[in-house]
Amino acid sequence: MSGGVDSSTAAAILARAGDGSADSRNNVVGLTLQLWDQTRLAGKHGIPDAPKAGRCCSLDDVYDARRVAEDLGIPYYVVNQEERFERDVVRPFVDEYLAGRTPIPCSLCNNHLKFDQLLQTARSVGAERIATGHYAVNEYDAERRRWILKRPADLAKDQTYFLFGLTQEQLAYTLFPLGRMTKPEVRETARQLGLRLFEKPDSQEICFVPGGDYKRFLTAYLEEQDEAAPATEGDLVAANGEVLGRHGGIHNFTVGQRKGLGVSSPSALYVLNIDAASHRVTVGGDSDLGTRSLRARQMNWISVAELSGPMRVKAKIRHRHEPAWAMLEPGDDRAETRATFDEPQRAVTPGQAVVFYDGDEVVGGGWIA
């Protein structure tokens, strides 16, 4: 329970699903994972002193989550996982940027911490299932004998992109009570179930990066850790190799970025490639951004046990990307999968996740190499 509308409503739906007796309420336990201290870097390098409301793990949000649990009459606990979050999510996030890639911490968190920890805690307290407020559908297919993750009713809120790493075991234990509802329906349900926070705004940004400004976060975090950012300044070059200028470090760039390149040009320039070894950042025009193929690693397969041959799918390469037709093939080694798009896709970005869909079903996903 993050203290937001979605997880609160999911809890309320489950808690109210019984006959309202004390016994049926006792079947639901509320849990908040405390993952990051929102005051930790406050006031440093332009990070606001007071965290905004609507950010997971702020005191306000834990308060909201607790109030919901109190109103529902369910036991509620806060489990502190700050150390593990820093180790498994924040540190890799920082290291990825410093290595010139563009990380996606929500998937890291879901894959390596959130579901694993929720399942662990659920088992330790004797719970049979975990439920979250994610927008996704999870169904068992008896024929294939697999749990299938599907896109939700509300495609605008689809969170399957962040959930591609769920294992069959995790899916078998997981309920997504909001999967068949739209966001307006969720808010209306919250209102009808008497949740005070039914109008609370959605949180959009990465929970530990205030204001979405990852560069400020990197600076403040590295300073707190007493670490110098690795010296990765280098040349800014055109696609033909012509040196256009210098840049202050590869962590300042992400593929597809237009602003803040520090060079002037008659037409708009975008980052095409970041070479971590030579610190060279290649820029070019919009038309140069397109890519026909990508390689993905650390695959997790959901609707299939493994990829045995070519498969026609739609591939999604970032959260706000409209899935595009592609042909999926096993890579040269088993750890790798290759996707070839029908049409060039803009800004395929190493470090982001790629998730493959067959209709509504999530086939699987991995990390863009």
Binding site: Q34, P75, V78, V79, N80, T121, S124
Partner: protein
């Protein structure tokens, strides 16, 4: 579901006599104890009677009892009200956060602060206190020294040698404060024997109401009030007296004194010993603070290969209320500073749970706990990531 409350060091319920004593002071006897009229006089009388009881409780003069809002206020007043920039505060690494944070704040404001570490069994060695005292700072000199040591540790129950420390403070002519919040009501109490200048207690740890406490302030001790305003409590603590609360504290103190005489402490100690022995039959368990003298109701047990937080939740859902350490720290990342100061590593500190019995605990309570705990531990160990070596 049967529930057994084993977290008396966090708080205790009112005893019925306390509730009854307080009852008239919400509506009928609502007067302001500082008013001239008869309504005020009746409230004053109630406060004065409670003061008389507390003077017996502390073994001090009535004029040396100051009522306040509880243990944190007493601890804060003792430290912030006495030490100034340039003074020397000597305290320990196992104090409650009310002392610890006040000490850290004093340090920020220019007071020299020394934290004395405990031995592995949780006891403070009085000689370490003696060594920390500087010869140039004596009572009455322009530079003050304050020693602040707790009576009973809230997490382990270990009883500190306050009498010896009191003698050392007297010999060195320095001030001595005791945070007695966890000791009050659990052992014979006498500020003269303790040799302290200041002593803080809280009502709700001994079956009184929350939000009220008292402090013994030896006559002539130069402690500045934290609260200023009216001339309440001989100008030592401004603010309209919490009459009902003070009456409740008085009754709780009276009952606590009686319980020290009637065998209650021995009975609770026997229950605690039985509980402890029963839990120690589980493999991979040990007592933190074993061997040191301890408050009769408390045991702090380490369960190897376990995440204490998970066990607290599992036990709660099975009807046993315990805590992973101080209730004042729940939800924080840091493992117990008390256990860490005693030499436990982070994982061992996080694998430790506090059981603290109410003085109303029964044999059946202990039996129930001993029925639930071994099963919960076995279940958790079977799936523990700590056991599998994958947890952080």
């Amino acid at each position: 579901m049967r529930r057994v409350y084993c977290d008396a060091n966090a708080t205790t319920p009112l005893l019925p006599e306390v509730m009854e004593a307080m009852r008239p002071y919400w509506m009928e006897e609502f007067g302001n104890a500082s008013s001239i009229h008869l309504e005020g006089q009746r409230a004053r009388k109630a406060v004065d009677r409670a003061r008389e009881t507390l003077a017996r409780f502390f073994n001090c003069r009535e004029a040396e009892v100051v009522f306040n809002a509880g243990g944190t206020e007493g601890d804060n007043t003792a430290i912030s009200g006495l030490v100034r920039p340039g003074d020397h505060l000597i305290t320990t690494a196992i104090e409650h956060s009310a002392v610890m944070r006040a000490a850290e704040r004093a340090a920020e404001h220019g007071t020299e602060v020394t934290f004395v570490a405990p031995r592995r069994d949780g006891l403070i060695d009085p000689e370490e206190i003696r060594r920390a005292i500087r010869p140039e700072t004596r009572l009455g000199d322009s530079r003050r020294t304050l020693v602040s040591v707790m009576l009973a540790n809230n997490e382990t129950g270990v009883l500190q040698p306050v009498e010896e420390i009191g003698r050392i403070a007297a010999e060195a002519k320095v001030y001595f404060h005791i945070d007695a919040v966890q000791g009050a009501g659990k052992l014979a109490f006498d500020v003269k024997r303790f040799g302290c200048h200041l002593c803080s207690i809280s009502a709700h740890k001994m079956h009184g109401p929350k939000g009220v406490g008292a402090m013994y302030v030896r006559r002539g001790t130069p402690v500045e009030p934290l609260m200023v305003g009216g001339s309440h409590e001989r100008r030592q603590r401004a603010g309209t007296e919490n009459v009902a609360g003070i009456v409740g504290l008085g009754k709780a103190a009276e009952l606590a004194m009686a319980a020290l005489e009637d065998g209650t402490v021995e009975r609770v100690a026997a229950l605690r010993d039985r509980l402890e022995a029963g839990i120690l039959e589980i493999a991979g368990t040990s007592v933190n603070g074993a061997g040191a003298p301890r408050a009769a109701n408390t045991t702090n047990i380490r369960f190897e290969q376990l995440e204490g937080e998970a066990l607290v939740i599992a036990l709660d859902l099975k009807g046993v209320a315990v805590s992973g350490g101080s209730a004042c720290h729940s939800g924080s990342t840091e493992p117990s500073h008390v256990l860490m100061a005693m030499g436990l590593d982070k994982n061992a500190a996080r694998a430790s749970l506090r059981f603290s019995l109410l003085k109303t605990a029964t044999d059946a309570d202990v039996e129930h706990v001993l029925h639930v705990v071994p099963r919960a531990v076995e279940h958790l160990r079977a799936l523990s990531p700590v056991a599998a070596g994958t947890a952080g």
